[in-house]
Structure formats: C-alpha cells, structure tokens
C-alpha cells in the first residue's frame, strides 16, 4: 500500500488532461511517466501530490483517500519537486532544505530541533551540497538548484517522491547523478521524464501517456518499442540492446512514413 491513483480523470480549464489513468507503483520502485508535451504527466503528478483533485476516480495514500487527509498528513509522506520552482528571496541553501522540515512541526514550530538538523544535514550530504549549505540561492547553478530542491524534498523524509522533469536544464553528468541518486533512495519515486534513455536506465517501470490516457505500462524493455515511440511521439526510433545488455533508443530525423524500415521491436536485438 502506497500512493496509488485509481482511474483518475481531471478536466482543467475545460480540457481533459488526465483520462482514466490508474497507477500503482510498487513500494521502493522508480516509476517513469513518459509522453510528449501536454500528454498529462505534470497533471497526473499534481493529482498524486494532492494539489489538484480528480473529477472522478481516487488517489489513495495507504488506502486512505487523499482528499480525506490534511495537507500536512500528505506532506509527511509525499514530497514534490516541481518544475520552475524559483525564488527572488535571498535565501541560503541550508534554509531551502530546512523548508522540508515544515510538515514535521506542530503549529507552534516546536519540533525537535536536533532531529530537524540531522535530517537537513543528511539531505545535504545525500545531494552533495554540504559544502554549499551556506551559499545563497542566486549564486547556485541550475543543477545545484535542482539538487537543493531534491535535498529539501529528502529533508521532508517522505515515503513517496514526485519529480516533474527534474533533469531539465541539467548537463549530462548532473542528469545521471541526479537520477542515480533518486533511484537509489529507499522511497517510491514517480518521475516525469522526456529522455527515454534515462527512463530505460533508471526506471523499474514506465507509464506512457498520450493525450491524458495511459497507453502503455510495464518495464522499460516491454514498453519502449519503435512502434510505440512512432505512435506516441511521431518519431522514428531504433531500439536495441547494447553489449552490456542495456536498452538504448536512437532517433532518426525525418518523416514517419519510412517507419516500415525500422527495427521490429518485439525482439530487441543487438546492433
């Protein structure tokens, strides 16, 4: 029992953005949400985080309906790293990470101070930010900011971590570092991703969304096929397995109608 979505539907501004999606991540796994822009990845994450309510269907946390829980109860189990979370406030990294302790305070803010400081120090260590703890937010690079957000989410000590395109704007090294960090954490993670190779490398399971509907789900190897990529993304791709038995996806520019030549994906083979 963890965070689960059962047949959730959400209309946003009149448009159907999430259409009858069911998501049941196994505890401790890393689940990738894939799909083109506007396919409903961020919207599904907002439903899972409880910042939006589904029109029908339910999101449950340990079997309890999310809307029956207080925001603080949810925040003690579910942490969110959203896109575009920036600030003009002249705040230090340590104070950003401390924000993650807010759900653990009672209303007068008298939580255990030592427990808080331990969680903050550990989150900084996990994300390699210990040396930057006293640096100001506006001096951080894009990658450091993203890591600071993840540290803040870790300080929350969640069981579920929801990340919306966390690798955006990161260079390749930081993309790899960040996702290997997330996939090693003893939490259940749901990550919206654009990069199919990163998804294949780090996710135990992927769900592919298309116009709000889940059109495929399963292990990356089952799901990421040339046909599916052609159908959902409208892009020609070659899917194979490299000499170290890793799934790789290569893209071909050009129109789709030559897709007949593509590698049949049902049996991904070395090339």
């Amino acid at each position: 029992m963890t965070l689960q979505a059962e047949r959730v539907v959400w209309h946003r501004g009149g448009a159907l953005v999430v259409d009858d999606v069911t998501l049941r991540p196994a505890p401790g796994t890393t689940v990738g949400l894939l799909g083109p822009n506007g396919s409903g990845k961020s919207s599904l994450l907002r439903l899972l985080g409880g910042t939006a309510k589904p029109d029908s269907g339910v999101v449950t946390l340990d079997g309890a309906e999310l809307r029956s829980l207080t925001r603080r109860d949810i925040a003690r189990a579910v942490a969110v790293v959203s896109q575009h979370a920036d600030t003009d406030v002249d705040i230090r990294v340590r104070d950003v990470v401390r924000l993650g302790r807010i759900p653990h305070r009672d209303s007068f803010g008298t939580a255990s101070a030592t427990r808080d400081e331990e969680a903050v120090a550990e989150a900084l260590r996990h994300t390699g930010l210990t040396d930057k703890a006293d640096q100001r937010w506006d001096t951080l690079s894009g990658g450091e900011r993203q890591r600071a957000h993840i540290a803040r989410a870790l300080a929350q000590e969640p069981r579920e971590l929801l990340l919306d395109e966390p690798t955006n704007h990161l260079d390749i090294r930081h993309q790899l570092e960040l996702l290997s960090l997330v996939s090693r954490l003893p939490v259940t993670s749901v990550i919206a991703l654009h990069d199919l190779n990163l998804a294949a490398t780090f996710c135990d399971e992927v769900i592919v969304l298309e116009r709000g509907r889940a059109v495929a789900g399963g292990s990356p190897r089952e799901v990421l096929t040339a046909e599916l990529i052609a159908r959902v993304y409208g892009v020609r791709a070659r899917v194979g397995v490299d000499d170290r038995d890793r799934l790789t996806v290569l893209f071909e520019p050009g129109p789709l109608d030559e897709s007949a030549e593509l590698t049949p994906e049902d049996a991904p083979r070395p090339w």
Binding site: R46, G49, G50, T51, T70, R71, R72, D73, I74, A75, R76, V78, A79, V80, S82, A85, D86, T87, D88, V89, D90, I91, R92, D95, V96, L99, G100, I102, P103, R105, S107, F108, G109, E117, A119, V120, A121, E122, L124, R125, H126, G128, L129, T130, D131, A133, D134, H149, L154, Q156, E157, L181, R184, L185, P186, V187
Partner: protein, 355 residues
Amino acid sequence: MTTPVTDGAGSESRTSPGNTLRVVLLLVGGVVAVALSVGAAITLGPADVSLVNVRDVLLNHLGLADIPVRVVKDAIVWEERLPRALTAAAAGAGLGICGAVMQSLLRNPLADPFLLGISSGASTGAVVIGVLGVGGSVIGLSGGAFIGALLAFALVMLLARLAGGGTDRVILAGVASTQLFSALTSFVIFAFADADETRGVMFWLLGSLEGVRWDDVVLCAVVVAVGIALCLAYSHALDAFSFGDEIAASLGIAVARVRLGLLVLTALITATLVSVTGAIGFVGLVLPHAARFLFGPRHAALIPATALIGAVFMVWVDAVSRVAFQPTPLPVGVGTALVGVPAFVLILVRKRRAP
C-alpha cells in the same frame, strides 16, 4: 533514509548556534532601542523636558513612586508626547510586519500594506465622513476611514476571486481598486470641499500623529501585538511560500486558507492604523527589505526584526517631523520618506560591499 552515499562531501554540518544567539541578542537590543527611543523622543520639542522628568512622570503614573513634577511637564509627557511616541512605535511595527507578510505572500518585493486598496479606501471613507458629513457624529473620521479601508479590501478580494485567484490577480485587483477609490476621494474633495477641509484632508492623508490619545495607544498596541503573535505563529507557513504555491502546498500548507487568513489579518491591522494615523507610506514597503538585509529571510526572525526596526524608525521620524519646522508640524508620511530613503540607500550600498 539511511542509504549509504559515498559522495566525498564533508560530513560535519556547520549548524550555527552562534547565529541564533546573534539574532536573539539583536532582538533584545532592539527592544531596548525602542524603549530608549521613546524616552529620548519625548524630550524633544519646544517645551523643555529632560530624561529625568520622563522617568519621574512614568514612575508616578505607574504608581511606583511619588516624585513632585510640575503639572505642565506632567501633562506634556503623559498626555501628549508619550501617547504619541507609543502610537508611532505601534504604527511602525504594525506597518512593517504587514509589509513583510504581504511581500512574502504575494511574492512581490514591491508589495506594501496599502497595495490592496486600504489607504485609498480609508481616504474615501474619511472624506465621505469629513466632507459630506454622512453619519459623522456617530462614527467619526477614524470610523469612516476604517470602514472605507475594509470595503476597499473586500472589493479587491472579490475582484481577485472573480478573476480566478492567484497572486498576480490579487495585485492587479489591488491596483484597480486603489485607482478607483483615489478617484472617488478626489471627486468628493473637488466637488464638495472648501479650502480648509481640503487642507485638513490632505494633511490627514499624508499621515499624522497629531492629537493621539491613550485610547488610540491601547487600540493600536493591542491590534499590533496580536498581529505580531499571529504572524509569528504562521512564520513557517510564510517561509513555505518562498518557492510559490505549489511547493507551499507540498510542504503541508493549506495555501488558499492561509493566504486569505493572513491577508485579512494584515488588512485589519493596516485599517486600524490608518484610521488612527492616516496613510503613512514607505515604512511597510522598505523596512521589511532593510530587515531582510540585516536578519535574513526566515520569518521567525524577520517578523520581530521588522517590527522593532519599524518601531524605532517611526518614533524618531515622528519626533523629527514634530520639531523640525516648529511650530508647523510636518506630515509624518513626508518625514518617513525624507529620512528613510537615505537610510535605505546606505544599507543597500553597505550590503553590496560586504563579502
């Protein structure tokens, strides 16, 4: 959460109890500074009053001593200058925290307590009572200002809600409402007021602590004290707004409810202060920034720091406005900007040089 991670980063955390101690010391120093400022401000003015006189009068009235003081001096200190200095301190503290809270809630460094139409609504309410004489004897100028301020605020919240909520809609609704009520005020003045009434209203609009009495002191002090306590209780929620609504919600804050509650609180504080002192500008806009420069952005320190800086600042500005152009008093709203802007520029420049 104990996954072993072998990033070579140093494991010792530089938590700084020294920092907390520094903040506490500065806050204690701030309280002392407010008390000393009030005492010193009382000695300024045409009638000669010494610090010893001030101490004697205070001890007498608190029933701690029975020291002979001339009746005139006693009246000047106890009936005139002390209530005035205390009201100035409360107004400075109140406007300061309202500005800090508004800037954090709306995530806009240009937000101030008057952004949501409160000062223009108050002035409309005041001129409707003062110039048109509607119900004047019952509620008075202050009552009219209070009602006008809250009506304007209610209009802003209604407009913002109709426009779909969100911080930018709140700000736009505030701008629209401020323009509307300013126009209404001007209309009433031009259409109905004579020269004396106009001058009186203008003076009031710029802010004035002339003739405040002990019941004003009590009203302002109680409202501001309750306001500071509530803002402190919500200081972590205010911190959570740093990265926007979505993150605040994910940190367990009931965003819509907390924001509405705190906006109503700041509106009530501001409306109360405006009804007593008129619209004193600058304090709520700039002093929270000064406090952030000195004490950092965490609201548990920022709220009391802003309150103390605001209190000291207003006590001195009011004292200077009172005596600078004797016998003509300067509207305190003029003084806040004349004294405050150079002070703020000094902080900006010094902060830039600091490493």
